[in-house]
Each structure stands twice: as structure tokens, then as C-alpha cells.
Symmetry: C2
């Protein structure tokens, strides 16, 4: 049932960098996006058209999108929280716009003071405009495997949000384990349930490695036939609130897994580990990718790690 | 086919600490072993009866074994490379002695200048003496999923070593991915093959997280019915040869996985994360356990990491 090839959506330039305190130079962001597309990533989440007051790191979204060298066939996505963001995205010629909502009622109330249903309804104009403009529409569902406030998130809540996003016309929907608490069993339960209401081949798994479970969760989701996975080169996107806590699963670790499983990604792992090294140096942080660190050590020092 | 309960073999005090350059005080080692058994670990690899010239960190094995408070039912294992080691282990009242060999011919030649077959035959006296003394005998097979020198390790080589260790009378045999290169598919192939020549319930999986695959490999091995897993609290056992490379899979991450799968371990995860914190502070290194760090941050600071 596991697919023979998968699409990896690289979220490092947006989800990964957005919480970096030090502003990352626009040219560094552009180089990151360009190198990722050259390495074979078919979809790169490149910017966020959100108010710079909310996310100062993403203030240069228009400049990033204007500066990149578009690789034919690559989808460059941007986050669009509202119509103003959508207009920016359209002007920037984004291939895909991303809207979002939580599967947790407590999270929705606490973060944006409204119900899940209301929060998704607010995206109606964006969704409508995207459809009219012929831009791909992606919906991302946070807290799909657990919530920091309410803990357990019922599978039915995730299914409900998927149905709402489907009704808005989403081409692709992300099942996101925002806080990384999910394990393999829950992953399978959730993706199996949502596969019944939305085409499996347009569902994606977005896992965080906070509890060390992300690669196992991807292996579990593969067994449910999921064909799209999000990942962040060098594991960009460490948690801003807890020192040492890890964030997005590293793209290198995911590609290493897929290579071992004989599942095609179209991604050059060697180029990818160089990109991980490049961006880690640029932001002055060690790479959070285990495969990236091990392969780089082997390449640079000629040592086989950990014998 | 996945088991409803598993045994976790804690290898931190031996495999984890053995490469620490700074000598870890004997009382710290004793406290580590004691706290691990109190937390519910049923098997603790506690010391190595190897020449202190080879492994100075393990020079105090007899003192560690003499100092621990034995918990009824807990198996305290020690590594015994030869008859001299075995005699020390017997005197120290070890419950289980561990012998070892590689599944890779290149590794065996390069490291101990003899063939796999010869290296295992050398353990015959130890195996015989263990059987006569009524001490449990465990065999550990390194490089079962890959070798730093020859790369690929044929499944047949692993099966061959399992058969040799079975012939020596091993009660339990470890399939060890010493350099952490294995992925889920290979894991399943190897454990499925060796399960045909040795009772599945006495096979264990020993995975390293060097390439970020260990938890996924455990999830894969569970699906092949493997019921015993090695792990190291705080991920003790970082690689001595490559900076930043990770070693043994962290016990906290494995218990977190099992809890999520509803598989019984008998281990108190809260105690375990405190032990991970204790030993990480004692050796002055950050914990390599993702679950350990995340749960500790949540407990100490009241924050839910990575929202």
C-alpha cells in the first residue's frame, strides 16, 4: 500500500525560518529557495504574506519571491492569512497559497479568539479568489495529533476541518502535528480517517520531531498510502519556547528514509546536506538533522560515524 | 503481529558511558543503574569486564556491580570479551554475560584481525562456562544493518552469525545497527530472516539514531513481532569520532513511542526523564533524547514546546 514515489514539500524557508530572531538576509533566503529547487524539491514553501508586525522575519516575502530563479515545474508556496496577504501573493506570482486552521477548539479559541468553524470561514474570500485566479490552494491543519491546551484532539475534529477545507476548494490538505506529540498509531488512525473524506493522494503529513517520533510517523503514514510529506532542511524551525526542543522533521532524515525504502523522491541527498550546512552556518546554529550531520562528517572528515 | 508488551534493555551505563573521555565517578554509575532499575527497566547493561587498558571508563566494573542495590527480577548484564572477563563477571554476580561479534567480514578483519567465524569461536569457553554456571548468555551482533568498511552487509551474514551464537547457547541475541545506517525496510528484512533460525521472542533490536532512523526502525521491527529493544537513557553514547553525531536511541524516545502504541513497558516515563536529566548533568552534556528534552521543558517551565 506504501507509495513508490513521494513528494517532499520543503518548508524550511518559511515555517523553518519564521521564528528566527535574527533577521535572515533576503539574499540568503533567495539562495536557500534556489538551491532547494535545484536539489529536486518539487514544492518549496518560500515566504509568508503576513503582517510584518506579526512575523518580522517574513517581511521580505515579496523581495524573496521576486528574486528567486524559478525552476519549471517547481511549486513555490506562500502563506496567506487574509485577502491582503493573498493580493501580495498574487502579485508575487506564487504558485500556491496556504490557508490554515487548527483541529483543536481550545487552540483556536486561545490563539485567535474564535471557533474552528469561524476561523476557517474567514478564509472563504481567499479561497474564492485563489480559485478565480487559478492559483493552487493548500489548507494546513495544525494540532491534528494533539494540542498543547486540550491535549487529546478527537479524530472527528480533524475530519471535520478536512471537510471544511475541502468545501473551500483546497487542492491539498496538510495533517500537521504542530507540537510533535503524535506517535505512529495515532498517525495511522488520523490519516486513515481523513482519507475517507479527501483524496489520499492530495493529503500530506507534516510532522515535528519534538518527541523524536517524526520519522516513525512518516513510516506509519506511508503504510496508509500517504504520498506527500513536509520537511525542513537542517530541521530548521527549532522551538522558540523550549531550549533544545526540536521542530520540523529534517528533510535529510526523510530523504534518507525514503532512499532506504526504495521510494523515489527526485531529490539529490548530497546537494541537500550541503544546503543544510549552508543554512546552518548562515543562521549560526548546528543542524538538527541527524542524517545531515552524519553524512557531512563522513564526507568532510572521511570518517564513518559511530563505529 | 506487533507485541502487546516489550522488554527494554537499558544500555546507557555500559554502552552509553564507555566512550566518555572524562571518568564518570563509580558512585554516579551506581546511582544511574539503581535509578534505572527503580524506574522499571527489567534489564540494565551495567558494566564491562574488559581490560582497563582498552576501555578505561569501565575499569570500575567490579565496584559498580558490588555497589548497586539489586532489584528482584532485574537482570544486570555485563560485557565479557574473554574468560578473564567472565570470571570477573561471575565473581560480581552478573545475571547475564554478553559476548559479541560482527556480521561484517571487513569489520571483523579490520578490528580484530580475524574472520567472523574465528571471532565467535573464541567465545566458546565463555559460553560453556556461562552455561555451567547457570548465567544467562547474550550474543550481540554488530554491523547487522551495514558496515563502515564494506557498506552493505548481506542478510545471510547476519543469519549465519545468529546460527553460530545459537550454537554457543545464547539465550538472547541482539541485532545491532552499530553505525545507525539501517532503515525500516532493511530492518524488517533482517529481523524476519533471523526469526526463522532463532526464536523471535528472544531476539532484540539495538538501533542507533545516527541517521535519525532508530525510532522508525523500532516501529518496523515491532511489526515483525520483535519484543526486546535496547536503548540508552538521554541517548548516552554519542559518537566519539564525529562531532554532533548521535549514538544509541534514547530510552525516553522509545518509551514515548511504546506508550503511544499502547505497548506495555513497565517503565515510569516521568522517572526516566529525571534520570536522563541527572546523567546529562553529571557528564556535562545536553541530553540527546528529544522526548526527554521536550517533557522536561514542559515539566520544569510549564511550557508546551513548539506551538
Amino acid at each position: 500500500m506504501a507509495p513508490t514515489k513521494v513528494k517532499i514539500v520543503e518548508v524550511g524557508p518559511r515555517d523553518g525560518l519564521q521564528n528566527e530572531k535574527e533577521f535572515v538576509a533576503t539574499e540568503t533566503k533567495i539562495e536557500l529557495v534556489n538551491r532547494l529547487s535545484q536539489a529536486g524539491l518539487q514544492n518549496v514553501e518560500s515566504a509568508s504574506f503576513v503582517s510584518p508586525k506579526w512575523v518580522p522575519q517574513m517581511a521580505d516575502g515579496a523581495a524573496v519571491m521576486a528574486g528567486i530563479a524559478r525552476r519549471p515545474g517547481t511549486i513555490y508556496s506562500v502563506l496567506t492569512p487574509n485577502m491582503r496577504g493573498f493580493e501580495g501573493a498574487l502579485e508575487a506570482k506564487a504558485d500556491e497559497v496556504v490557508i490554515f486552521g487548527a483541529a483543536s477548539e481550545a487552540f483556536s479559541q486561545k490563539n485567535i479568539n474564535c471557533s474552528i468553524a469561524e476561523s476557517i470561514a474567514r478564509f472563504e474570500p481567499v479561497a474564492k479568489a485563489a480559485k478565480e485566479a487559478g492559483v493552487r490552494l493548500r489548507g494546513s491543519i495544525s494540532c491534528s495529533l494533539g494540542c498543547p491546551y486540550q491535549g487529546e484532539v478527537p479524530v472527528a475534529s480533524v475530519v471535520d476541518v478536512v471537510e471544511r477545507m475541502k468545501a473551500l476548494g483546497c487542492d491539498e490538505i496538510d495533517i500537521a502535528d504542530t507540537i510533535g506529540v503524535g506517535t505512529a498509531k495515532r498517525t495511522r488512525e488520523v490519516v486513515a480517517a481523513v482519507s475517507k473524506v479527501f483524496p489520499r493522494e492530495r493529503l500530506s503529513g507534516h510532522f515535528h520531531d519534538t518527541y523524536g517520533q517524526a520519522v516513525a510517523n512518516i513510516y506509519a503514514a506511508l503504510q496508509e498510502g500517504i504520498e506527500i510529506y513536509h520537511a525542513s532542511v537542517a530541521g530548521l524551525g527549532g522551538c522558540p519556547y523550549a531550549k533544545g526542543a526540536t521542530g520540523n522533521v529534517a528533510t535529510e532524515d526523510v530523504v534518507y528514509l525514503m532512499n532506504g525504502l526504495g521510494i523515489e523522491t527526485g531529490i539529490d541527498l548530497d546537494q541537500l546536506i550541503e544546503i543544510g550546512d549552508f543554512i546552518s552556518r548562515a543562521i549560526g546554529k548546528p543542524s538538527a538533522s541527524r542524517a545531515g550531520r552524519a553524512l557531512l562528517a563522513k564526507k568532510r572528515d572521511g570518517v564513518a560515524p559511530c563505529v
